[in-house]
Each structure stands twice: as structure tokens, then as C-alpha cells.
Symmetry: C2
Subunit: 429 residues, 2 copies
Amino acid sequence: MRPVTEFSDAELTALKEELTLRYEEAKAANLQLNMARGKPSAAQLDLSMELLTFPKSWTLSDGTDARNYGILDGIPECRNLFGELLGIRPEQIIIGGNASLNVMFDTMAFLNMFGTGGEKPWSFCKYEGHPVKFLCPVPGYDRHFTICEELGIEMIPVPLLADGPDMEIVTKLVKEDADIKGIWCVPLHANPQGTCYSDRVVSLLASMETAAPDFRIFWDNAYGVHHIYEEVPLMDILEACKNAGHPDRAYYFFSTSKITFPGAGIALTASSPANIAEIKKHMAAQTIGHDKLNQLRHVQFFQTPERIRQHMQKLADILRPKFDMVLDTLEAELGGSALASWSHPKGGYFVSLDTLPGCAKRTVALAKEAGVTLTGAGATYPYGQDPNDSNIRIAPSYPTPGELEQAVQILVLCIKIAGIDKLLHDRKN
Amino acid sequence: MRPVTEFSDAELTALKEELTLRYEEAKAANLQLNMARGKPSAAQLDLSMELLTFPKSWTLSDGTDARNYGILDGIPECRNLFGELLGIRPEQIIIGGNASLNVMFDTMAFLNMFGTGGEKPWSFCKYEGHPVKFLCPVPGYDRHFTICEELGIEMIPVPLLADGPDMEIVTKLVKEDADIKGIWCVPLHANPQGTCYSDRVVSLLASMETAAPDFRIFWDNAYGVHHIYEEVPLMDILEACKNAGHPDRAYYFFSTSKITFPGAGIALTASSPANIAEIKKHMAAQTIGHDKLNQLRHVQFFQTPERIRQHMQKLADILRPKFDMVLDTLEAELGGSALASWSHPKGGYFVSLDTLPGCAKRTVALAKEAGVTLTGAGATYPYGQDPNDSNIRIAPSYPTPGELEQAVQILVLCIKIAGIDKLLHDRKN
């Protein structure tokens, strides 16, 4: 398709009529398709069914009966397995409950209630009229933003560039403003663009000067082993922080939510020895320990990091054709049209798409009306406010291939209709 | 044994010598026995092994795939089962993670961070120099006290009488002091005395006038179906609060920790519709939902409330001989001696024993030296401070019957030695 900007008004109007006809046909089909959330498909989940046959034994290497109380930071077998997978020392890992979101919320809540490193509780800053602020690379993950919003932490959007957050802006802000106490990062196959952080960005995040002594990086490596097209390396943030003289700067999060069963997996946090000791002290008041049988279930099912990687390859084999279909369709239908641009992820769960400015909400609404549920427009921005109203997150994983094909065709149709309407409207004014 | 107070000095000294000899023999045996925590025994855990063969299907009645994301407040099947068991409407129940301790901590943390019913966050009270206070019936559960201590909530001990907290003291305190914003209650087979709350006490707790509008009862019904000798009824606290015009006063907690596998079970909270809505709002920022497969595992294993009760009977059959042994030995060895008094629980996990004043720490230390680990003396009081230094919590569940017999004999020996030493010392001064 040639750029719509080169179309005459008459051509645009004619095209719009044709598209509207096809849109009405789509609506009449009464479809119910969902591309809203990054949910694994049933086919992916089926690959983990054997997990449910474990644990087959429950006496741990140290003699502990995993069926009973105990072990605050997770069974050694589990910390070893994921430590080896992620290149983190097991003693710097705490296995959490069933989801990293919960671990992230609790970590933020602990900072809110207790502070860290001898600094005052972050809630105290709010009480004193200087609420804590967090940097949020955008577009980003809506549930990160919800944690901040719920805890009264002000969010400052910063652009996410091709190799990570815009470090020129980030380094300047954190140096100047002591209320800025952290940044959200999804360093590999970021939600939603698929961005992977370069070594340069990781080094800068670890070494940059911050006005707040208790500045913290929330390193949500949700897609750390979720490569689809290409394995992408990632610099070790904990090591980088340590080497830069800021050993306590980063909390690392990871989970098996998109490895085995979302909500029935295990999550972990990793950090410096001082941070881990601090978290364990708070945790000791909160729990006797998380679900050791589920930890053991995962250990006995996977056995080795290598087998986790093989499992991820099988999942990638299911996801790849779906991503291919989305990307190929976008290229075939919108390539060169100037109506949209989109990301080309190497892994993760999403494609990030930008419509013409002011067209995202309309596009999502049109799709909804035609039976295709997308992530709400604006959800990828703090407070749900996309200043350009242009970003749409596409989640290709959950629908079947057949459903996905229908859904993407409808999405494309809606992008075109919304975009052409906008153009015609702009030309009139 | 006749009262030691009637013994002459010479008699006491002779008795002491004999006991010390036996104590040295016990020490020489190098035992390693543990009566410290309320842990189920391996024999109890063995009764739940079939649980691990579930779930055998994962499509919920509403069509949800329980293997995937979703359902914030727990699968309906699970809320129905435990709602029926406990006489609580399913829509007033939220299924939590693997332990009620975590749910209790989080509930208290939410109050701390967000407040409730439009009142200010409890952490703000602390910043304003008026820290929130909680009433703690004593002796009580150490982990309740740890939650308060960690969150900076001041604890006021109130006596636990035969049918519940001393309501004369409680009603007076909560009426006068607006900083008192709650009370911990273990209403059935209380930890450690086995006390069961009478209808009179429950009614008073529900109806009493409190200076704090956001006064809350933390109703930890940990032993709600854990009857050993006798089924004890309990008045419905949520209904009582509602009827008394304080619908939002109570949070109800329960878990399967001592029903199936501690740490690999499920927990729940129940409260008024307004409180549940408030908690769900906070929870929505914390999690997408807890482990649905483990919820389903429990539902498919138990199927009906009746089968849970039958399961509890089997567990009671294992626990009863242990409680018999402890109570019989205490009676045989210490009955009439005036050296100790103890509770006669009808269920739960503990026997509460009081030594002569000033003898608990010494007794626990003596036992430790002879290889018997008991709950630390003082642990049953806020801040670990038993003003009389007399209370010891006995947990008979974990050791095998053979180990338990040895452990109780040593405990009795230590109680006698510490008591007689104290008497002799007092007579000298």
C-alpha cells in the first residue's frame, strides 16, 4: 500500500467506503476474539501437564520434609536450579509465591512501610508532602503502573528507545531529583515493544549518580528465557551494580508464569546480600515460607536449566507462527501506508503498534465493536494516558492460529478506518 | 505428689538431688526432641498424600481453564466448599495464597498503607505520634505479635479468661482509647490454651462501643475444625458484627495448613461486602490471582465439607493419644504438686502450662540442655515478655509417640527442678 498521505480526498473516501463495508461484514460475524492479555494458549499449557505428576518425593537433600512448615527463602534445590538458569548465586535468591507481580508489589510495599538501607520509609515521604517518584519507560507494563498508583508513587514517563530507556533523560532526572527513588525495567523482550537492553544501558543504570541514596531498579526479567526468534544476551545487573559501587541498587524478579502455568508457578526475587537480609527480616513476619511442594514440583519436572531452555524452545515453536502471522499481516496490509508502525520483537509476548496520533482509542473501540478485545488504549502508559493516543499492545499468544488470523485482519481494518477518518478530518480543518 | 509448699527444706533438697540425678541421666542420652512448634507429624501428613494426585481436571464450572491467569478472589468451587464448611457466604470469601499468616500480614499491611472505610492509613497515625495499638489476649500466638511488632503497632496485653478475653477490660479500653484499633482473637482451641470463646464474649466483641471508628477484629479461626476431644460450637462473628451495627468490624481468617500440608495449602479471608471490595481493590494491584490449581486440588480431594470433617477426625485420632499422654503425665507427675497448672484443651495444637512465677525461662533452658526444644519462654506474650515468667507452650503434635513420652518426662523433670530451686531460694531470702 502506498502512503495514505499521497491519496486524494476522493481516493481516501472511496477506500473508506470499501473498508467500512468489510468492517460491517466482520461485525455481522459476531466474533469473540481476545488479544488483550499476554496469556499462554492452551497448546502451550499442554506442554507442562507432566508437572502435575510431581512431586514424586518430598524429602529434601537436607532432610527437610517439604510437606511440612519451614524454609523461608525457598528450598535449596529450587534456588540452585533457577540460580544456575539465570546466573545468580542461590544465596541471593528468595523464592516467592505463585507470581512475580506479588513479589514486586510486596517489595514496593516493604519500601513503602519500612524503607531500605536505613533511609526513611517511602510512605513517610508521602506524609511529608514529597511523594516518591518512579521513572516509567514508555510504553510499558500496565501492572507495574498499577502498583505505583495504588501505593501513591508518582510516575514519570521516560521514552524507551531501541536499546533501553533514554539514558540521557534518565541520568539527568535521577541526578537532580532526590524524590525519584526508582525505575521500572523489563530488560529483555520488553512488554510491549520487545526491546532488549544493551550493555551500555545496563552499565549506565548501574553506575549513574542518583540524588536519592535509596534509588532502586525494579528489574522485571519476565521474559528472561522467552526467546522466540533469537536468543538475546543480557548484562548481569546485580554484578554491574556491585561493580559500580551500588551493590544494593537492583531487585531482580523472575517467574515461571509463562514457562509452566500462570498463577500456579513460582516466582523469585534476587538482590544483594544486604537487600536479601532486609527482605527476609520483613518476610519472617509475613510467612513461614512459600509453597515448597510447588517448588519441588518444578525442580523435579525440569531437573536442569538445560531442560528449561528446551521447554522454552517448544513454547517458542508454538508462538513463532503466531508472531509471524501478525508481523506478516501488518507488513502486507499496512507496510508503506504510513498508517502505523510496529515493533519487531525477538521474543516475549507482544507486538507494540503505533497508529497515527489520536487513533489508538478509536481503533480499539472499533475492534471491540467487531468482537476483537485488545488491551485498552493508553494501558501502556502511566495513569492510562498515552499523550499521543497512538500505542496499541498486541498479544498474539492466546488465540488459536485461526482466531488470531481473523483478529489481526479486523485489527488492520480498524487501524485503516480510524487512520483514514483522522486524515480526512484533519484535511477538512 | 503432695504440694511442694508442704515439703521441709530437707525434703526439698533430697528431692532435688534425686531429680538432678535423673536429669543428668537424661542429658547423657543426647536426645534431640522438638516440642517447639505446632507442626503436624509425618503420620498426619501421610493422610493427605492423595491430594498430590489432583487436580485431575482443570476446566472450572464457568469454563475457565484453571491452568491459566485469572480469578482474583479464588475459584468459585473453592469458595463454595469452604463457605459451606465455615457457614460463610462464598461472595464474602477471598481465597489467598498458601498460608493465612500471609493473608493476616497483608490485611494489616493494607490497613497500614491505605486505611479502611475512609479513615486515614494507620501508618499516618504513627507519623503523627499516635501509633496504632492492638489488644493482645495473653498468652497468645507469637506470630500475631511479630506482625504487630514489624508494622510498628503497639501491643496491649489483656488476660484471656476461660471463655475468651477479659471483656470487662477490653470494653473499657476500646471505649476510652481511639488509638486502639483492633484485637487479635483465636476464637476456637486458642493457641496456646485451647480456650473457646463463648457466645457472650463474641456478642460483646461485636457490639461493644469503640472510640476508633476503624476498630477491627482479627479473627484467626486457625483451629475452626480442629476438634480433638469434643466439637465446640462458635458464634458467627461476621453475622454478630452485622447485627450489632458494625458490619465491617471483623476479618475472618482460616487455612488448610493443619488440614492438608502446611505451607502447601490454601488460606482464606472473609469479611463484610464493603471490606471484601476494599481488599479486592488493593489485591488487584498485588496479584492476578492465587494458585487456582492448588485450590482445585483441595476441592477435588475433599469434594464436600463432610469429607473435610471426616479427615479432621482421622487427624484427631492421631493427635488424641498424644494429648492424652501429655495431660496424663502432667497429672501423674505434677498433679497436686503446686509446681504447675495447665490447660485442658478440647482441640487445637497446644497445651499451655504455667510454672511457678519466675521458672519458665529456667525450665525451657534446662529442657534445651537435655535435648528437648520447647517454644521459647515468653514467646506467648507481646515483645516476648511474660511478666510472670511462667508460661510454657507445649506442642505435642510433631514428635512420634515414643519421642513425645521421653520429651514430656524430661519437661516434667525440668519443671520440678526449676520450681524446687525457686522455692529453696525464696525460703533462704
